[in-house]
Amino acid sequence: MNGNIRTLLRLEIKNRFSNYSLTDFKSYLKLLFTIALLGAIIYAIYWVAGLFFEMFETGGMLYEALVLLVSAIFLFMLFTGISSTIKVLYYKGDNEILMRYPVSGAEVFISKTLFLFLSQFIVTTVVMAPFLVAYASVSGLGLAFYVKIPVPILLMVFINFFLSNILAIPIMHITNRIRNKFILIIIGLAVLVTAGFALYMLIFNSMVTYMNDTEFSVFSDEMVEIIENVAKWLIPAKYFADIMVGKELYIAYPALIGMLGLALIGMILIIYFLYAKTLLNNVEVEGSAFKHVTRNRRRPIFIALLRKEFLQVFRSVNYSFQYFVLACAMPVMVYFCNEITGRLGENQVGEQIALGMTVLVMLIFATVITSFAATSTSREGDNFYHTKVAPVSIRTQLFAKFTMFLLVSIGANAVCTVVLYFTKQVTLSDALWLFVIVELAAVAETLIAMRMDIAHPYFNLSGEGEVVNNNASTTLAVAMGFAVAVVTGIVCMFLGYLGNTGFTIDIPLTIMNREVGQIAFVPEYMYYAVTVMVVIFFIAAVLGYTIGLKKAYNKIAR
């Protein structure tokens, strides 16, 4: 490797990991925390993977489970590989800077390719390791299995790397074509997120069933047949699994080596004919801006503010995802979560806590969709001055932002409660009560998140004027929302249980010559208590938001 390539590679690595430059105690602490978090995540994956394999082993399908898992990892690595290739090889800013240095295009390309390969190798190994260790322990293959796995992992890294390079350019062209079809993107993402979540919940559901009784298989005979048939056709993932378990090696090796050769040739051809052309054509910006012919139209001030806010979110894939996509997917997520957690709770305690579970689940999802409010001021970025120069009061401007959140949370909550009612998970009166309670909490959380952002805005924006990282207010808003959900949910479950089981307390007290005697809990107590709690939270949030708002806003950029 020549000096230039080494320097460029080092630059690329430094650029990627600049957040972890070890300069002071705080940076060491941050690195340590990241490593500890990564370790915890890997262990959690290992534990879940072990359960997953045990569940399939009980159904006599351990090999099929490995094939399914390798397929999922193969696809995941292919998607991340394509995304990294596009970002590292073709995004213009970086290339423009590098081209000014006295280095050749080939050296830039080789250094970036090496970086991509190294990161692909590390990520594949880290992602696969906990699954493979879990497989080895469940299957009892032990050391023999570990000896065999480096070859398929290396093959997977190489094949994925070559395929990513082949697919990056066409995928860039396609994404540029659909980049400005915002409705299409939102619908597509909502469907993908919902489908992914539904699949996840189905697997989770099976695991819950399996955990309740580990002696019996959760798979029906038909299901076993379907999974076995599907696993047979999952090519090339099936071949990686074959090499790992030493099955039909005479087919697996030639097939994968053949595929490796073809992918390599394809990559060389693509790079030879299209790489330079693609860079020069700057395809990543081509079509990123669109033309939208409209007429001049007068709108009331509030509608103009609301419309601007909507367009700012709607025309950004990042913001749309955080805002609309999660709100669209929320009813499905709530339905599945509620069914499973409800069943879990009922099995352990009884159906008396079902409504409390529903409150908990709905409040958690309401938190997720309202946490975006914690960037409502920060998102103005360089345009923050507009809010100060405009002849419109700050309260009106902020109210327009709040209305956007309100409309989305009302829509999502309404659909959720309708779904819960029509799937007979709750009664009509409970559905109405749930809607009011969750909406009040969502409004309160939105106001608190907005106020936190006004107190500590974070104008760190990317090239297209978008907030690149969530600020501390977002983290705090999520933590607060989860805490509210847990406390409210537990109170609801606890009082619901006491009320529905006819629990009584003897109180040996006499007040004004009258014995208090006995308090018998009734289900209504739960409704009263939770309503009072949420109303207090709502009032506190409204007061916290309103008091000193103008002063806090004027303090920004002082």
């Binding site: 669109f290 939208h292 001049n296 007068r298 367009l311 025309r315 002849p391």
Partner: protein
């Protein structure tokens, strides 16, 4: 039109005043240049008078409306072009101008007239329905100017408007400044370009270390020619004077 009286502004956590006891009075129909070195307090003064920054003491009135006591009416009479051309880049040029026009309650007829006039004057006809993020530096500056003028403000404030613009774009902006003043309005702009200020302004103020040093009437004979000399006299540091003397001694 614009009255700044004994303005004091100190940033949070700052030891000294960025603007100190600054008073200015602008008349209708004049172009007023605001000169000073980097960090002299030009942008801070502009940000105070547009309502972006609060200030410690003094008062600013625009068309008789106090920016602190009656900010909405004061802002309704003012158009502002920032120095960084920041605009909502996800909107198209037309959407952005319409958004601004809505905030300033411009009637449909007025906005149509002005929009068409300015768009053709600044030659943005082809780009006006494209997203602003595809605009060049100069085009962004022009769309900022159109948005600032869409409500025909009595006071037009520009913070270093010519920075990074080509000759043609500068000429278009200067023409608009002239036209705006000819309609009885006032233009107040900050600049580093002494020649430009001498050429188009009726009066110019020089600020140094947050303090107003001089207001020069450029209609008085000889003032245009000596503006640069006066600016250098005011803004020169002791070190500059020593350097100059050394150079003179060396011949």
């Amino acid at each position: 039109m614009l009255e700044i009286s004994h303005l004091y502004k100190k940033y949070l956590n700052s030891e000294r005043f960025s603007v100190e006891d600054l008073s200015l009075s602008l008349k209708p129909g004049e172009i007023f240049g605001f000169l000073g070195q980097n960090g002299a307090g030009k942008s801070t003064t502009i940000k105070c008078l547009t309502g972006i920054y609060p200030f410690n003491s003094g008062s600013i009135t625009i068309c008789g409306y106090d920016i602190q006591k009656d900010p909405i009416n004061a802002k309704l009479n003012m158009g502002y072009v920032p120095d960084n051309h920041s605009v909502y880049e996800k909107l198209t040029g037309r959407e952005y101008v319409n958004y601004t026009a809505d905030l300033y309650k411009v009637s449909k007829r007025d906005r149509n007239d002005r929009f068409d006039r300015y768009v053709s004057q600044f030659k943005l006809n082809k780009a006006v329905d494209s997203q602003i993020k595809s605009y060049s530096h100069g085009m962004k500056q022009k769309i900022c100017i159109i948005a600032a003028l869409i409500h025909n403000p009595k006071l037009w404030v520009l913070d270093e408007p010519m920075m990074g613009l080509d000759h043609q774009s500068m000429a278009e902006i200067l023409k608009r400044m002239d036209d705006h003043c000819a309609e009885g309005n006032t233009v107040f702009f900050s600049s580093h370009n002494l020649d430009l200020v001498a050429k188009i302004c009726d009066r110019a103020a020089i600020i140094r270390d947050g303090k107003l040093q001089d207001v020069i009437d450029l209609h008085i004979k000889g003032n245009k020619e000596t503006l640069e000399k006066r600016f250098c006299e005011i803004t020169a540091t002791e070190q500059d004077i020593i350097n100059e003397r050394t150079l003179l001694r060396r011949g």
